[in-house]
Each structure stands twice: as C-alpha cells, then as structure tokens.
C-alpha cells in the first residue's frame, strides 16, 4: 500500500515538474509574440519526448527493497524463459544434487534427530546409562539399558524428571500376524508420559506394574484393536492368550499413541511380566542384567544440565547394592529414535562418508551450472556491456545475476526436495519388513528439513552464481560492445577457470564412480563367493519354543522326533538342528587350546555354533578329517568339538588336530573329533572367523532351528515339516523359509550400499558428461572462427581435430589422475565392505577411468566435428 502511494506521489511530482517547465516555456514564447498554439508546439519540440525522459527518470529511480527484488525476480524469470534449455538443465542438475543431499539428511534426521512422535516431545529425553568396571554385568539389547532394580531406584529418587521404563518383546499369539505380536514392556507411567490417552478402558495402575509376574494385563494399540478385534466396544475384560498365558485386556490406546520406539507396538504389557516374555531368561529378578531403556519427561522447573547432574549421581548410586565396582556413565539426549552414544559415534564415520558422496554429486551439479553460467555469460556479454554503458551500477547487475542464480537454486531445490522424498522412501522400502518391522520412521519434511533444503539451495546458488557474475562484471566493456557476437579475445585467465571446473568434475565423478564400482564388484563377489556350505536347497524351520513355554526336555523331544522323521523322507539328504540362523546370526566366543602338558594358549576369538546330528551333511559342508556329530553325541555328555580348517591350520599347523583339546566355555575341555571345510560369513566388515562346532544339548534346544537339506522338492518338504510339527503340537506356530532368504537378508546391507553407490556414481557420471559436453561445445563454438581460419589457410582437418580434442581433454585427464588418487583413498575407507575386493582393484580403476575418458572424448568430438564441417567462409563472415 505504502509503496504504491509513494510511487503515485513520485509520478505526480514528476508530472507536475515537467508540466511546469513546459508551461513556463510556453508562457515565454507567448510573451515573445507567438500564438499560444505555436508556442506550445515549439515548447514541446524543444523539450523532446516527454515520455522518453519520464522513462529515463523512472529507470534511474532507486526502488524500495521489495519492489527491487520483485523487479529482479521478474527480470530473472524472463531471462530464464528466454534460454529454456539452459534453465532446464541447470534446474535439473541442481535438483538432482539437492535430492541426494536432502534425501540422506532426511533419512539420518528421521533416525537420530527427529523429535519422537509423542505429545510435547520438547521435554522428552532419552536417558542412556552405560557401565564399565570389573563386576559381572549382562545387558540385553543395547549397552545403555538398566536392570529392574536400578530403574526402580532411579525412578523413585529422580526430582528433575519423571522416568519411565520400556523394553521390546515379541509374544506368540494366535491373534497376531504370523502368530506373533510386537509388545512393549512398560512401567505404569510410560503411556501417560508420552501423552497417550485410553479410548476404551484405562491404562495400567501402579499396582499392576509393581509385582513381577502377578498381573497379566494388556493394553491394545488402536491398530490392533481395529484389525484384530474389529474395534469391538466391549473388548475390555476379554482375555487374549499370549505366550500361552491368558492376559486381560484393560484398555485401548488412542490412534496417535504409537510408542517412543522405531517399531510400532501391537500391545503394551506391564514390564513386571518380563519373565513370561522370555521364559527361562528371567531378567527382572537379576539386578546385574540390564534390559530396560529409560525415557524421561523433564520437569517444568528443571533443565538438561540439572537432569544430567542428578541422574549421573542416581545412576551411580543405583549400582552400589549389586555392582559396586562398576562406574555408571549417564547420557541425557533429546528424545529421538536411535541416538545412543554408540550409534552416534560409530555411525558418524559412515554418515560422513555418505555425506561426502552426496556432496560430491552436488558439487558436480554446481560445477555444471557454473560452466553453463560462464558460457551463457559470454553470450550475454554484449547485453551487460550495454547496460553498464547506460549507467547501470555494477552492484545492481551483480544483484541481478545473483537473483537469477537464486531463482535457479530455488526452483532446483524445490524439485530436489520432492525427489529426495521419493529417494528416501525408496531406500526405506528396500529394507525388508522382517528387518525393520512396522516402523514409524517419519520421512515427511518438517520445517528443519525445509530450512536445510532452502539453505543448501541458496548456498549452492550463491556458490555457482557469484564466480561467473563477478567474472562478467570485471570485464572491460568496449570490445564487447563493438563485436556483434559478444565474444572476446580469449584472455589467458579465463580458460583456466573452466579447465579447473572440468578437472574438478572429472576428479569428483571418477572418485565416486570408482568407489561405486568397487561396491558393485564386492556385491558381485559376495553373490558368487564359494560359501563353503550350501546356500540353496536347505529349508530352515523356526518355532518360538521358549515363548511357547516349552521345557528343554520337551523341546529336545519335539525337535529330535521331527528330525528323525524328516531324515527318512524321500528327497531329503539330511536333517539337523542349529542355534544360529545360517548367514544371518552369528555366535562369537573366546577360545583357548590346551596342550597335552596342560599349558594353555592365550585366548583368541572364534565363531561358534551348537549343531545337531548330520549337520554337516545337511548343509553339505565337507568333513575333511575325523567325523561329524551323531545322534549319540547329542544324547551323551562327551566333551567333544569339531573345528574348521581355518582353525586347524591357524592353531595346529601341520600337527594332527584330532585328539587335541580346546576350551570355549570355562572349565569344559573339549576333544577335537573332526575337521570340516571352512564356511564364509556374509556380514559386512567381518573377516573370516575360525569356527568351533559343539553338539546341541540341553537348554539350547529352546533356541534351535531345524535344517533340512533336500534335492529341490522345497514345497513338499516344507509342508511335510509343518504337518509333522502339527501332529506333535497342534498349536505350535512353525515358520519355514528357504536358506536363500537368509542369503539375501545377509546381503541386504551390501545390496543397498552397492545400489546407492551405483545410483550416486551414475548420477555423477551423467552430470559430469553433460557438463563436459556443454563446456567443450561452447569452447569449440567460441573458437569456430579460429578453426575456420586454420582450415581456410589449409590446415589439415585431422590435426585441427586433434588440437581441439587435446585442449578439451587435457583438464579431464588431469582430473582423472587426481580422481584416481582420491578414489584409492575412498576405497581404503570402505575396505571393510569390499568382501576381499582390493581397494585399488585395477579392473575397476581401469574400466572406470577409461569409461570416463571415453565419455569425455565423445562429449568433445561431437562439437569438434560440427565445427570442422562448417564452411570456413561462414565462420569467417560471421563477424
């Protein structure tokens, strides 16, 4: 409003002033004897075009900052519309660069930074307590969990915050999906603390979460209520059988209550029912075993520093009764899904590496746009010179250019934000459900992500905008005004900048590509690796015997029966049991060898497995010496072990390992009765581990899985397995999967990495090639005249071509050379992920470098040939 009013007054004043001038002149002429009509005609003639001068006055008029910006934006928009190809390529380049950047940040933000999906998340804190010292201590889950006794002590003494307990468990229930329910074991105050409200019934009373094992009550999540109980209004008071124990439903939480952990729970159960969730592993009665994660609601009158100070003291005091020789380290962190100190410190390097990779893509995109702007700048040189000559301020032109860049950055950033959403969702979707479950990662952009994207886009546009703009403005005007084509005699300083840009692009994209190539090769190698055991035609049957309240004896009877039965089925090679899920889970222990003299070796790390009879036959692991385990070994108590060849060679060299002794559990001296071929693990960052197999016995049966090696009749064997188990226990839920699924699960992280690497590398390559093409094409077009002269003077076309290519490719070659060094450094950093592929794998390095050079040559040769085909006379006459 005010602006319009001001403009009106400006116009009125100007009109009045000019009218006064004309009128005074007319008056003077009339006074000298002209007729009024003649006087007016004469005065107007002398004055010149009124509108023209008004326009000149308006042009020179300083504008309000907003009006100014509006004018700059309009101008920038028009100028982009005039060169749609440039605008589109620049926007796409920036969009892709921003997309990978924001995509990564979105994922990291959702995992470790985003406030929890609870009411009033600002005062919610994660309280992590780690301990170290000489007392025995066990933890279940992360190292940041406390025992029941410790939690009770801290909760009752804390004044700065209210502490609540949470732990995750899976319960078997006929009502659940695949027979299981995801449960959160909670203290009575957790649900109110996160702002949940009961839509039906009530939450737990303090009494219901006070006596271990006393109160089998359950609160349903809204989703479970709707999907499993049809939203029945009378659900409260009903009984639901979980882990073969009847629980009474006391209430249903509201729809928005999804818990403070990544996985959404189906039900909430008082944490005092812990013993039932893992029968045989009663954690709640053991003060030295941590399993409870603490969530805190800060009191209104407290701050984080006070919380830290108080909880550090309380944490230490809570250890005194049972772990007096351990020290507590308490961390108070903002409420977020995965911000344990360990994740923050271990994940940081990986994140940094990924961040470098995505920044490289953004950098390439930036370099592209800089090059395009430079090229475009040359074309606009004449326009700029004229505007400068007309008195436009250099600052004003600079602002104009930067507005243009900012507009490109802003549009590119917006498109990039949309793309990043797609990319982040694709990454999460590519993780199989059994790895992440019903997660509640929120990837939608909140104001922080928006601000980040905006900042990245703006900084990017400033980076790519300012160099070409300054370069343009610094130039001398006159030569540009004079020549029609707007080109300048190539000055010595101009070429290096573009060369540096090309070289940078080549360096960065080569480094990206090589590392992506290494990951792809690692994936390839992992897929085709000789695993030393069968990776197909094996079925794995799992049942939650522990949750189903089996005793060890009953579990052994069931499994042995099914195994003995399955061994006789047609098409079955062998059936056995194991405690580790092949390729997916692993067991590690410290072992010692014992000489006949009784002397013991220092401890060394081994992989371990407890296996049933015929295990090696079922998994087709060759027995090299001695024997495998038999049914008698399982039933007896003989202290025997089978080792793999790696261990045999490493520990016994040329000696016969049979009859030697090894200890993996204190006080159990095992005699080695067999040596088998080594097997590969498929875990990222794990080197081959020597392995010790022991017979499956006792309580381990509760954890065991069935393994059936067969000749390919997967379906028949699977249904026979289910049928046999059902005959023995009709209510037992058995899940059967082929071993291939485990292989694919184990390779998932590598597949994701290789996929992401290949995508980033490919993106980098496309951006670098388009950039290269644009710049070389532009350089050649600027030299068309020179080329024309050379050809006209009789220069050999092929030598001219060589010259152009040489000039275009020199910076690429230089960039590639540096890029190879950078790539070797990167390869070294990701060595752990490479499955033995050398971090300077010559094949990857050579093919990538040659590929990039080839693409660059192609990018250079097309415009060069086009320039040569041009009639020299046209090029010359083009002046």
């Amino acid at each position: 409003m005010w602006r319009l009013f001001r403009r009106d007054r400006f116009e009125r004043d100007m009109d009045e002033e000019l009218a006064f001038h004309l009128q005074s002149r007319i008056d003077d002429h009339v006074r000298r004897g002209l007729s009024p009509a003649d006087a007016e005609r004469r005065a107007r003639l002398e004055f010149g075009g009124v509108d023209k001068y008004k326009e000149q006055i308006r042009d020179g008029r300083p504008l309000g900052p907003l009006e100014d910006l509006g004018r700059d934006l309009t101008y920038a928009w028009r100028s982009l519309r005039r060169t749609p190809v440039f605008a589109l390529t620049a926007i796409i380049a920036i969009a892709l660069g921003v997309a990978v950047n924001t995509g990564l940040v979105t994922l990291v933000y959702a995992l470790v930074l985003r406030p929890l999906p609870v009411k009033d998340p600002g005062t919610i804190r994660n309280v992590f307590m780690a301990t170290h010292g000489s007392d025995h201590r066990g933890t279940f889950g992360t190292p940041y969990v406390v025992s029941y006794a410790e939690f009770l002590y801290m909760r009752s003494h804390a004044r700065t915050a209210e502490l609540a307990a949470i732990a995750e468990a899976s319960l078997s229930c006929a009502c659940g999906m695949n027979g299981t329910l995801a449960a959160q074991l909670v203290s009575d105050n957790l649900l109110p603390l996160i702002g949940a409200t009961p839509v039906v019934g009530r939450f737990f009373t303090p009494q219901e979460a006070a006596t271990p094992g006393a109160t089998p009550v359950v609160v349903l999540s809204w989703t479970t209520w709707q999907q499993r109980f049809g939203g029945a209004a009378d659900v409260v008071g009903r009984t639901v059988v979980m882990n073969r124990t009847p629980f009474t439903i006391v209430g249903v939480a509201d729809e928005r209550a999804t818990g403070p952990l990544v996985r959404r729970p189906d039900v909430w159960v008082p944490y005092t029912m812990q013993a039932l969730t893992r029968p045989g592993e009663v954690l709640i009665s053991k003060p030295t075993v941590g399993w409870i994660q603490m969530i805190a609601r800060r009191k209104p009158d407290a701050n984080d520093a006070a919380m830290r100070a108080e909880l550090a003291v309380l944490g230490q005091q809570s250890l005194l009764p049972h772990n007096p020789h351990r020290t507590a380290i308490v961390t108070v962190a903002p409420g977020a899904f995965l911000n344990y100190p360990m994740i923050m410190s271990n994940g940081a390097p990986v994140m940094a590496l990924l961040f470098v990779a995505v920044s490289f893509v953004l950098l390439i995109a930036c370099a592209n746009v800089v090059n395009m702007l430079l090229a475009r700048g040359f074309a606009r040189r004449r326009e700029i010179a004229i505007r400068l000559a007309m008195g436009a301020g250099r600052m004003r032109l600079l602002r104009q250019f930067l507005t243009e860049s900012a507009l490109v950055g802003l549009i590119g950033g917006t498109v990039g934000l949309a793309l990043s959403q797609i990319a982040a969702r694709m990454v999460v979707a590519s993780i199989p459900a059994d790895q992440i479950g019903a997660h509640q990662l929120d990837l939608s952009p909140d104001w922080r992500i928006l601000a980040y994207t905006l900042a990245v886009s703006f900084i990017t546009s400033l980076v790519f905008g300012i160099v070409p703009a300054l370069r343009l403005l610094r130039t001398d005007l006159m030569p540009s005004v004079k020549t029609d084509r707007g080109d300048l005699p190539t000055s010595r300083r101009r070429v290096p900048l573009q060369s540096v840009l090309i070289a940078t692009q080549a360096t960065v994209s080569l480094a990206l590509l090589v590392n992506a190539g290494l990951l792809v090769r690692a994936f390839d190698r992992a897929v085709r690796m000789d695993l030393g055991q069968s990776a197909r035609n094996v079925l794995i049957a799992s049942m939650n015997l522990r949750q189903e309240q089996y005793t060890a004896e009953r579990a052994e009877r069931l499994l042995t029966d099914v195994r003995d039965n399955a061994s006789r089925w047609p098409g079955v090679i062998a059936a056995s049991m194991t405690t580790t899920d092949p390729f997916v889970s692993a067991c590690g222990m410290v072992a010692t060898t014992i000489e006949a003299t009784g002397s013991r070796s220092p401890g060394f790390q081994v992989a371990c497995d407890r296996v049933g009879p015929d295990y090696f036959q079922a998994l087709r692991i060759p027995i090299l010496r001695g024997r495998g385990f038999t049914g008698d070994d399982i039933r007896s108590v003989s202290a025997i072990a089978v080792i793999d060849e790696w261990l045999a060679r490493e520990r016994f060299g040329d000696r016969n390992p049979l009859g030697q002794h090894i200890e993996i559990e204190r006080g159990r001296d095992l005699e080695i009765v067999g040596v088998v071929a080594p097997t590969q693990v498929l875990q990222l960052g794990t080197t081959k581990a020597p392995k010790v197999y022991t017979p499956l016995r006792g309580g381990s049966f509760l954890e065991a899985k069935m393994l059936v090696g067969h000749h390919g009749a997967t379906e028949a064997v699977a249904s026979a397995l289910r049928q046999r188990a059902a005959e023995l226990d009709p209510s037992l839920v058995v899940s059967v999967k082929p071993i291939e699924q485990n292989v694919s699960t184990a390779l998932m992280p590598l597949r994701i990495l290789a996929g992401a690497g290949a995508a980033l590398g490919g993106l980098g390559l496309v951006l670098a090639c388009t950039g290269l093409y644009g710049v070389v094409a532009f350089t050649v077009s600027r030299r068309q005249r020179e080329i024309g002269i050379r050809v006209a003077l009789g220069a050999d076309r092929s030598s001219v071509l060589r010259m152009i290519l040489g000039h275009g490719l020199r910076p690429v070659v230089a960039g590639c050379a540096i890029g190879l060094l950078l790539a070797a450094g990167g390869g070294h950093l990701i060595r752990a992920l490479l499955f033995g592929v050398s971090p300077i794998d010559p094949i990857t390095f050579a093919t990538t470098a040659l590929g990039l050079l080839g693409a660059a040559t192609l990018a250079a040769i097309v415009p060069a040939l086009a320039a040569l085909r041009l009639d020299p006379m046209i090029a010359l006459r083009d002046e």
């Binding site: 009045e16 002033e17 006064f20 001038h21 002398e46 004055f47 010149g48 001068y53 000149q56 020179g60």
Partner: protein, 116 residues
Amino acid sequence: MASRDNDAELLPGTLEMLILKAVSLGPLHGYGILLRIEQISGGALAIEQGALYPALYRLQRQRLVATAWGTSDSNRRAKYYRLTTAGRKRLREETEWWERLVAAMGTALRATSEEV
C-alpha cells in the same frame, strides 16, 4: 536501443557540471536552470530540454543537489533545486579537473614539431 540523443553532443558528465554550476548561484527550478545554462554558456550548448531532468534526478539521488517545493515568479508551484555541501565540493573538484584537462589539452594541441 536509444538513438543518438542531443545530449551526446555534450561530453559525458558536462551537463551535470553545468547544472551544478547553475544552482551554485542560488536555488532554481528546472526551467530556471535551463535558462541559466543557456545564459552562462552563451547558448552554445544545444540540448533537448527534457534531457535536463534525468540528469537532475541523478544529481538528486547522489545528494549533490537538494529539492524543495516552492512558488515561482508566475505564482505556480515549482520544484526548486539548491546545491548541497557535497555538491559544492564536487563542483570544485570537477572545475579543477576540467581546468587541468583544458590546460593540458591546450599545451598538447599547441605543441609544435620541434617540441615533440
């Protein structure tokens, strides 16, 4: 592009100098400045009268002249221009520079072959 205007017959910047000189003798409205310039230059500088105004607005923006609305001799509302301190300083500098230039040019143009 604009055609070659009459003000191109002035050396760049000279119009501004003449305006500063004109208002240095006392506040004037635009038309008065025109008359004063015609008078002090002996009518030698022929410019389109309109060209005066963009120059006036430029000087005003550079704060070399200040403006105020007043009443003219003919009893009409008119915008008066007067020199500011900065304007006075600029006029002095420009005059000195101009005189040095004229002297130098004069010497150069009068030089005979012996002196070269």
